[in-house]
Symmetry: C2
Subunit: 186 residues, 2 copies
DNA sequence: TCTGTACATGTACAAATGTACATCAGCGGG
DNA sequence: CCCGCTGATGTACATTTGTACATGTACAGA
């Protein structure tokens, strides 16, 4: 049975393949041919749906990041009902990092955004989301610090090629979430 | 006056050009030709001194990171004599980030190390150095958290394309360096 | 059934790239 | 000055890549 036409589905399959390809080989090694092969479509399809490779990559980064950001809603909920937000935050970060590809994609996006201003709104999907959540529990300044800590701790785990250092993040979260000033401080 | 032979100097010039090229265009767009042009040497020189582009890139990453790590000794000294280590740390991070290229190189290295285990020892030059210093002031767990916070805060500044958020880092450093448990806690 | 439009494909091509290496140049010692 | 070794150069080449597009196919409406 020959597949029926499904332009939307095909376009999405290409974007999904691009997400996976970026995670696997990094932005610098992404090619049309790699994406096409991964999506199981002919080479010409990638340029049919996207004018340039940059456009395809941008679409992939956006899609990957939107998926990650959607997770943050679960984070917010889990932290809200948790009797121990610091411990919960550690668990959430560990779980996030368990999907290595997703984490790599995030940092690929960060580095790309550092060089390419038009990607910054995409990167902000995650950073602003995370910061917003952390600020809800620790106030603005400490909350933003907590978000930076989470990002930094996960990055360091990636660099070391190992798991998140739970005690490190736990100690930091404890300090930043300590009841001393979190709720009422400016 | 024709330049005399200086193989060591030439090799270093190539590595230096590679460092600058990586910072400028990112690891994914680094080419022999770009490095050679930047170093002001003929194309063949890059392959004369380095068997592969990967070897040249690795040498550049190492050199760039060693230079950055050497700065950490200044950090240690400044923090030691400072009456307000948190404020000093913020200043040091701000100054580090003022050299945008250097900061970009660091994160390029991080991301590369996440994918390429043989680069991890190079990345560890910075992460271990920073962690060691922070641990000296905040103890192991909180010190490691502080190091992650510094890395995360700088990364977020790069992503946003703006300056370091001093208040954020300041708030985090204050919390992690608070006298409550820093000196004696395990 | 025919037709026009949209979807899809695979080829072609110019440009770029890493690498290899034949050849040339510099230099020091005899 | 000559020679051999080391340093240096620029060309060549096979491969890869992004992009363009002619051609073919699918499909809905008349």
């Amino acid at each position: 049975m020959t597949a029926r036409r499904d332009p939307d589905g095909r376009r999405e399959a290409i974007v999904r393949a691009a997400v996976e390809t970026i995670a696997e080989v990094g932005l610098g090694q992404v090619t049309h041919r790699r994406i096409a092969a991964r999506a199981g479509v002919p080479l010409g399809s990638t340029t049919y749906y996207f004018p340039t490779l940059d456009d395809l990559v941008a679409a992939a980064l956006r899609e990957g990041t939107e998926a990650a950001r959607a997770l943050l809603e679960d984070w917010a909920e889990a932290l809200t009902v948790s009797p121990d937000p610091a411990a919960t935050l550690v668990e959430l970060a560990e779980r996030y990092l368990a999907d290595w590809d997703r984490a790599l994609l995030e940092y690929e996006l960060y580095l790309a955004a550092a060089r390419t201003p038009r990607l910054r709104p995409v990167a902000a999907l995650w950073t602003d989301g995370l910061r917003g959540i952390c600020a809800r529990f620790a106030g603005p300044a400490r909350g933003f610090a907590l978000a930076a800590l989470v990002d930094g701790a996960m990055l360091q785990a990636l660099v070391a090629g190992g798991p998140l250092e739970a005690e490190t993040l736990r100690a930091g979260a404890d300090a930043l979430l300590s009841p001393r000033t979190a709720a009422g401080s400016t």
